[in-house]
């Protein structure tokens, strides 16, 4: 096991590298511009956000963020006059629009739901996937190939194709609009990916490692936890990111199956209404905040991801 990474035999020439670099930059720009625009919109005032031509240079405002977290009501000038002076900067901001804060918005709850459901289903998918992958890789599982194919086949149609049966099923058993229901659903979708990805990683770990531990007196479970699991870290990290990204961003099922207690952020954000239509700065702010957890998670696991994303090809 050497520490060197794999290189192509022929190092690319300068021109090739330049063209490749240019393509990457162009691609990055194309994908970054919408994100940047959303990010900027979050710091605009509602009039700035819908002005034409669009404003690239504007005076930043936190109004979008304030609107995201609050519900407000418009009041008569007389009533506004009668109020004591505002206590906080955000109260002042709201009053400048002739409104008062009526209470917190639902965004906090929806965001928390996303965290619970996203991370919960990711944990479950990876946990089940790790155990299944280990079993498929190490033991003589009867009909292993057929089972693996069956597991993969659950991804051969778009999940939304079974939306109606799932909707009816969930309503019958009372899983509609529950955290558990959404966690089970996302886990069911992700676990096939997780089993297949992780099996590749376990296959790469020589059996001798566990056998050495077994001979030294450890049980199979101890050998798995102490010897195999640490070496699977890369694969687990990569798999977890894929699972989280799916569960975090899923929109269609969330829209269909959740409406209240368990609603996640994706179906909620586009429904944020301001005066006279959609509150674009609040939406921009919501999307920006919504992106953060996956971004942080990915950055934390980046070291593993870079190696893991090659699916074990250069794991050594």
């Amino acid at each position: 096991m050497s520490t060197t990474t794999a290189h192509s035999v022929v190092a690319p020439g300068r021109r090739t590298r330049f063209v490749a670099g240019l393509l990457v930059v162009i691609y990055a720009l194309v994908t970054m511009v919408p994100l940047a625009w959303i990010f900027l919109t979050g710091f605009k005032t509602p009039p700035d956000s819908i002005s034409y031509p669009p404003k690239v240079v504007f005076e930043p405002s936190l109004e979008g963020y304030v609107n995201l977290f609050t519900t407000r009501s418009r009041q008569t000038p007389e009533y506004m006059e009668s109020l004591p002076p505002p206590q906080t900067w955000y109260e002042e901001l709201v009053r400048s629009r002739h409104m008062v804060i009526a209470g917190p918005s639902k965004f906090g709850e929806r965001f928390l739901n996303s965290v619970i459901i996203g991370f919960g289903s990711t944990f479950l998918s990876v946990f089940l996937g790790t155990l299944a992958a280990y079993a498929f890789s190490r033991f003589k599982v009867p009909l292993a190939d057929d089972l693996l194919f069956f597991i993969l086949s659950t991804r051969m149609m778009p999940p939304i194709a079974v939306a109606i049966p799932i909707f009816l099923m969930y309503r019958t058993v009372g899983l509609s609009d529950t955290h558990l229901g959404m966690i089970i659903l996302y886990t069911a979708v992700n676990v096939s990916l997780s089993v297949w990805l992780l099996k590749g990683f376990v296959d790469e770990i020589p059996r001798e490692y566990e056998e050495a531990a077994l001979i030294d007196g450890y049980t199979r479970l101890q050998a798995f936890v102490k010897v195999v699991l640490p070496q699977m870290a890369t694969g687990i990290a990569a798999t977890a990111i894929f699972c989280l990204i799916f569960a975090w961003n899923e929109y269609a099922f969330a829209l269909l199956l959740t409406s209240g207690t368990a609603q996640t952020a994706p179906p909620f954000i586009p429904t944020i209404i301001g005066e006279g239509g959609l509150d674009w700065p609040a939406i921009g702010a919501g999307v920006t905040l919504f992106l953060l957890p996956v971004l942080v998670f990915t950055i934390l696991l980046r070291k593993h991801l870079l190696r893991g994303i090659t699916f074990g090809a250069v794991r050594k």
Partner: protein, 371 residues
């Protein structure tokens, strides 16, 4: 420390038989080598002794106890794998201490044991390094260290030197044997390299296609091969074979070639008419103008102190090991005589060596210091 006894051991993988009816006993403290070509079932045998594979039939005894169906963890055996199997997420110290942690040994004692073992193997200076950056020889020593730190009843080693380059291998061969002499634990060592086997073993089992063809001291195996396979597999260059006229009765003392009769050790059984073969090692051939054989020099290969001379005798090519200072021209015809007492006779049909006076020589077992 323990004796290892294997009785009628057999292993099938589906239709395929990897090990056929193996029987042998490794005495307490012996260094036993299983030698054979790739795929002959050495690793499978070793894994069955260690408990990593269950035999299809047969029994395994460790220190007199039947362990055939014991789990690997309940056999008190240490295993050194060909690829070392050092845990990449632990440093050298953790790797070596890992078997002790399992026994619930106090940390201070583990530390002391690991350091003691590391000093024995001269790796105490790398104890706190990660294993990923180690050179081949050091990895080898760490793997050995992890095995001996536990002081098990027996060691299993599966081609532990297979991945080292030849220079290092020679060094490790010597170190391994010295280590064995100092700790004296029963060892089963698997290799396909006959030089390793000859240099280290107290006893050797030569395997082929799942069958142990011969079991004995290294010299015995070299001087009195029991089968043509063993004769051919051991020795470099291997034993020469000459087809000779057969149909001999017990007590015969010579065999007929095309134009000559060759003296051989006195036969103890009848020789077959059709398939008799004379086996002679390269060093059993001498240049001798008065000798019974004539050979034409085909080529020479200079090796420093000796040279390997290829000779055409009776339409067969023989390789002879001669002193390096003898000058021979290609095409030259030379007279040859043979070291009568050490010649072997085989029945080529069964591959078996015929009983003869060759077998009377007695060999002293290897003394403690080895070599």
């Amino acid at each position: 420390m323990a004796e290892i006894r294997v009785e009628a051991l057999k292993k099938n993988f589906g239709e395929f038989t990897a090990v056929k009816d193996s029987n042998f006993t490794v005495a307490d403290g012996e260094f036993f080598v299983m030698l054979g070509p790739s795929g002959c079932g050495k690793t499978t045998t070793l894994r069955m002794i260690a408990g990593l594979e269950l035999p299809t039939s047969g029994r395994i005894f460790l220190g007199g106890e039947d362990v055939t169906f014991n789990r690997a963890s309940h056999r008190d055996i240490a295993f050194v794998f060909q690829l070392f199997a050092l845990y990449p997420h632990m440093n050298v110290r953790k790797n070596m201490g890992f078997p002790l942690v399992c026994q619930g040994m106090p940390r201070a004692e583990i530390r002391q044991r690991v350091e003691e073992t590391a000093r024995l193997l001269r790796i105490d200076h790398i104890l706190d390094k990660p294993v990923s950056g180690l050179a081949g020889g050091d990895r080898q020593r760490v793997a050995l260290g992890r095995a001996i730190v536990r002081r098990p009843m027996a060691f299993m080693m599966d081609e532990p030197l297979g991945t080292l380059d030849s220079e290092f291998r020679d060094l490790m061969v010597r170190e391994l044997r010295e280590l064995h002499n100092s700790i004296g634990a029963t060892t089963v060592y698997v290799t396909h390299d006959q030089l390793e086997a000859m240099a280290m073993a107290d006893k050797i089992a030569v395997m082929n296609h799942g069958v142990i063809e011969q079991f004995g001291h290294p010299q015995e195996i070299y001087d009195r091969p029991a089968t043509m396979f063993v004769a051919d597999f051991i020795g470099s260059p291997p034993m020469n074979f000459l087809t000779v006229a057969g149909g001999l009765a017990p007590g015969a003392r010579d065999v007929g070639l095309k134009e000559a009769r060759i003296e051989v050790p006195e036969l103890r059984e009848a020789a077959p008419a059709e398939t008799l073969m004379l086996g002679l090692r390269p060093e059993h051939i001498r240049l001798d103008d008065a000798g019974p054989l004539r050979g034409e020099v085909f080529g020479t290969e200079y090796l420093g102190t000796t040279q390997i001379v290829t000779l055409n005798v009776d339409d067969t090519q023989l390789k002879a090991r001669l002193a390096a200072d003898v000058r021979l021209r290609e095409g030259e015809t030379v007279g040859l005589s043979l070291d009568t007492a050490r010649l072997s006779l085989f029945d080529a049909a069964s591959g078996r060596a015929l009983a003869s006076a060759r077998d009377d020589a007695v060999h002293a077992p290897r003394t403690g210091t080895g070599g």
